[in-house]
Amino acid sequence: MEIDLSVDLGSLNLANPVLTASGTFGYAQEFSEFVNLNRLGGVVTKSITRYPRPGNPPHRIVEVSCGMLNSIGLANVGVDAFIREKMPFLRTLQCRKIVNIAGECIEDYVAVLEKLASVEEDIDAYEVNLSCPNVKEGGRTFGKDPEQVFKMTRALRQMTGKPLIVKLTPNVSDIGELGKAAEEGGADILSAVNTFVGLAVDVERRRPILGTVTGGFSGPAIKPLALAKVWELRQAVDLPIIGIGGIFRANDVLEFLLVGASAVQVGTANFVDPSISEKIVDELEQSCRRMGISRIRDLIGALETT
């Protein structure tokens, strides 16, 4: 049986639903010795900002049960060096190349997109990381406020014809509201979820383990939460969704597709096994064969709940 793993997210077509998650796959080149990158649906870069960012002081990482907390702090080379040093490698890839952008105010995001315009022919889509504090508006995370999600999306929408993916934070009462705000602002695709807020304590030293007190929680532990969020989002909006959270194997991908995601991103798993993203693509084909599914897209949103 010929298995068709391809999926469409509006105008963004992927050879298979497996993308890599921002911040967990470097600029893709770091993984080129472990993975045939062209076998993936696509790669997402770490968040690129207007200026280079050194990131937060240590500890930036701590393991927790079935997951990890991070406070990397968007460490990245900045958009200029990204274009100069990282785009040349990305350009050589045949899979979809998605650039994730971040900032501290709308102007930052706009500035990054302006600069990226010069290399836009080699970029297949943008993903907007809204889980950053809005420094100009009292430091509250952009992504927790539907109004700000709307404004940001609209501002960026006016700047590019490329597919615009808005990445939602799960740390809210109602993720559907955020999705609708992004939809109204002109987003093409939603991705969900970014990390959850977590905390771990070094009891001996009576201090938080992370330098920033709280950090972003990711890994298998968050999968049930992420699935619930994607499910909730699916009821609220019509846009295609990219599911993210704790994906380590093909069965996890299928869970996300069934609750309504059209594609997924693999994050923390890349640290545990750098070759895992490609393995998941292989496994996905085998699972479809075993289950007699010839087109994986038929599973999208196919969860039966009655």
Partner: protein, 265 residues
Amino acid sequence: MSRQKFIEEAQVVEKEQLNPTYFRIRLNAPRISRHAMAGQFINIRMTHFYDPLLPRPMSIFRRNGDEGWLEVLVRVVGRGSKALSQSEPGDRFTVLGPLGNGFSLPKKLPAVLIGGGTGIAPLVFLASELSKMDVPSMAVFGFRSQSEVCCVEEMRAFCQEVFVATDDGSYGFRGLIPDFFARIAEEKGIDEATLYVCGPVPMMSRIADFSRGKGYDVFLSVEAHMACGFGACVGCAVPRADGKGFVLACVDGPVFNAKEIRLGD
């Protein structure tokens, strides 16, 4: 820096409990073993369940590239190291390596290998390499007490001199390594040397402080909380001495010139 790394399903071929908390574990990992250099480490995944989740970094302690094995010296501190210590011959772990930069060869002689606790692991590997190249070296090792002392005979075969201290004086010199080393340096009149230091942060800090202004090149092998071990997570940041951001312990290190970095508390 883009040396080749390998993912191997490594089988435990030997395990020995050296003392109440240290274990020597020999793993069959031919490709990593063949390419390993002193100062590099491996990342060992304990289980295919999700707890413990992340692989644990362990220095390469010994290796035999021809026979295809390598060894780690494990101190039990938490869940992952405990699981490692409870492994038995035949068990398999997924191992990624060799990772990081090794020690560079000494420009100033003698090479002085200063290790505390399991920090001796990469230095034992280094000593055997220096000995093969006939580079003169001496070792200054510290342990909590006599029961933890290990590798001394082996080191005597590699080094011109081996000094041992214990915190409680139950073996060798009584006291902390920095003091002990200062005394040795003075007694022997060592005013030029390359120091290779691996151990607890306070120990490394004090040796770095003591060495400042002296004719020593000082290399520190540092630990950091790691997820990936190969530069992807940017988690293992170590502050640069010049205040300009961070270097990464896993790809820029774990061995750094003491001048490059600022050690935390």
